[in-house]
């Protein structure tokens, strides 16, 4: 085998290796987008459900007005925030706050037996629990995709292509408080 032939094989192999690295970065980026879209779908379900819950809570929970208002405000903010890479940080922050406030609201509901006995509220809470589980699942999918992408962004040679594609290390969708990492099981407050 001639020297030129060996050189050609090495060049082709190197080019193929780089192409595979490039394709993998693009695939990982797309996977993150898919995961983010999946979170968005689940969050939309939460936003649709919240007005009903808050309206019912508003009737009975006179002493929790500020908490209900906070939830309403955060829902509106979340709805108005665009869902793309540029706003991920902001979106995660609002969602963490909203989940935290909703958790507080659930705990407060303990003090309102009349509200707890409302059939429509029980049903809404059942749906809410299910939606929260879906959100938790979507968040896990997103975090797994982020881990893969961040590795690609930080490790050579994929880091070269990540830079060219304008990708940087992206934040995980984390809930701040340890106890809040588990999905909210609203039904527990209705036992």
């Amino acid at each position: 085998m001639s020297f030129e032939m060996i050189l050609l094989i090495i060049i082709v192999a190197a080019a193929a290796w780089l192409y595979v690295a490039y394709v993998q970065v693009v695939q990982k980026k797309n996977k993150v987008q898919e995961a983010f879209a999946s979170i968005d779908v689940q969050l939309k379900k939460r936003y649709d459900l919240l007005p009903n819950i808050l309206a019912m809570a508003n009737k009975f929970m006179e002493h929790e007005r500020s908490l209900i208002e906070d939830c309403t405000r955060l829902r509106t903010e979340a709805l108005n925030t665009k869902s793309d890479f540029s706003t991920i940080q902001e979106k995660i922050k609002i969602e963490s706050e909203l989940q935290s406030k909703m958790g507080q609201l659930m705990v407060s509901m303990e003090n309102y037996p009349q509200l707890k006995s409302q059939e429509t509220m029980v049903q809404a809470m059942q749906t809410f629990s299910e939606v929260e589980e879906h959100i938790a699942a979507a968040r896990r999918f997103y975090n797994a995709a982020i881990l893969e992408l961040n590795n690609a962004v930080e490790i050579y040679p994929s880091s070269i292509f990540a830079g060219q594609l304008g990708l940087s290390v992206l934040p995980y969708f984390e809930i701040t408080e340890e106890k809040e990492k588990a999905p909210v099981n609203a039904m527990e407050y209705f036992k």
């Binding site: 999946s38 629990s129 879906h134 938790a136 699942a137 979507a138 999918f141 999905p183 039904m187």
Partner: protein
């Protein structure tokens, strides 16, 4: 197989008394039927032994009279061996049939009393989980023959439970091989989902058993679980909705609980099918060689059944959340 769930322990406490109150009374009738069955069984097995001895004697004789041609291709020695093996196998199958018939007779008579301890379960030795359900689940690859043994159906903790003992055979003739021998446990679950999620053990054969292309590899957060199992799903989010951190912990312990060689699970059509490949004939009752009143057999059947039902508690399937 020894389940250690709280429910299993409660069952154990109550079953002892139940056995003496509701089951022992039925056993004496079967003990009378066992004696003639055992005679037939022994008779056929004696014929197996006699055939083997006779074949060896003929082979020695043939070797003495014509030592040069006896072991040639298609020689008299080879023909004698084949004939002997065929006759012995025939007698052995007859002995097995006698034992199986007796087992089914005892099961038919006793199992209803046994199962009523657990609720509304029914038993059959003819039914089976359907071929379509097995294939659709993606738990095993294609197979040619579906052999069924015990089949139980009922409700446990409000969930429909189907337990099917099967043997799956692939290929034909000399290429026949058993690809699965064990239990398919089909359980309805309280979570609504629309896709397909598959959990398979990660072993050397996993490379050759890729599921269909619409399913993607799912990497979960638990490193140990990822080493033990491969997860495939057509919806990444739904897979994580079904396989929660709690489910992962519980599923990791299953192989140990069931002493299984291989354990797999498939979430499809709002039910979960768990395949436990244990290469053991389970749910045996009415061993023709043992007295019907032998408590060991009943104890084993009880433990096997409780272990399967414990799956609902082990995997927390009856709960609406936290699966």
């Amino acid at each position: 197989m020894l389940a250690t769930t709280q429910e299993a322990q409660e069952y154990r406490k109550k079953f002892h008394q139940y056995y003496y109150d509701r089951i022992v009374g039925h056993l004496s009738a079967f003990e009378n039927a066992r004696k003639p069955a055992l005679s037939f069984y022994t008779f056929w097995l004696s014929l197996v032994a006699a055939t083997i001895v006779a074949t060896i004697a003929v082979l020695i004789h043939l070797n003495q009279i014509s030592p040069d041609t006896c072991w040639d291709n298609h020689g008299s020695g080879e023909a004698t061996m084949q004939l002997g093996a065929l006759i012995a196998a025939g007698f052995f199958l007859l002995a097995k049939k006698v034992a199986k018939d007796f087992e089914n007779k005892v099961k038919t008579g006793i199992i209803r009393s046994f199962l009523s301890f657990f609720g509304d379960f029914s038993w059959s030795c003819k039914d089976s989980i359907s071929r379509d359900d097995i294939l659709e689940s993606g738990l095993v690859g294609n197979f040619n023959e579906l052999k069924s043994d015990d089949y139980f159906e009922g409700t446990h903790r409000g969930l429909k439970v189907v337990i099917s003992e099967n043997k799956l055979i692939r290929g034909s003739g000399k290429n026949r091989s058993t690809i699965f021998e064990g239990l398919f446990i089909q359980l309805d679950i309280n979570k609504r989902f629309s896709g397909h999620t598959l959990i398979r053990e990660d072993n050397v054969l996993a490379v050759f058993e890729k599921p269909d292309r619409s399913m993607e590899d799912v990497q979960l957060e638990d490193v140990e679980f990822n080493k033990m199992f491969n997860v495939y799903a057509d919806d990444q989010t739904e897979a994580r909705f079904l396989i929660t951190a709690a489910f992962i912990e519980r599923f990791k312990n299953l192989r140990q609980v069931y002493s299984a060689r291989d354990i797999r699970a498939s979430f499809l059509n709002n039910s979960l099918i768990v395949a436990i490949n244990c290469k053991k004939d389970m749910f045996r009752l009415g061993n023709v060689r043992k007295p019907v009143a032998d408590t060991g057999q009943m104890q084993e059947l009880f433990e096997e059944f409780v272990a399967v039902l414990s799956l609902v508690e082990l995997l927390n399937l009856d709960s609406k959340t936290g699966l």
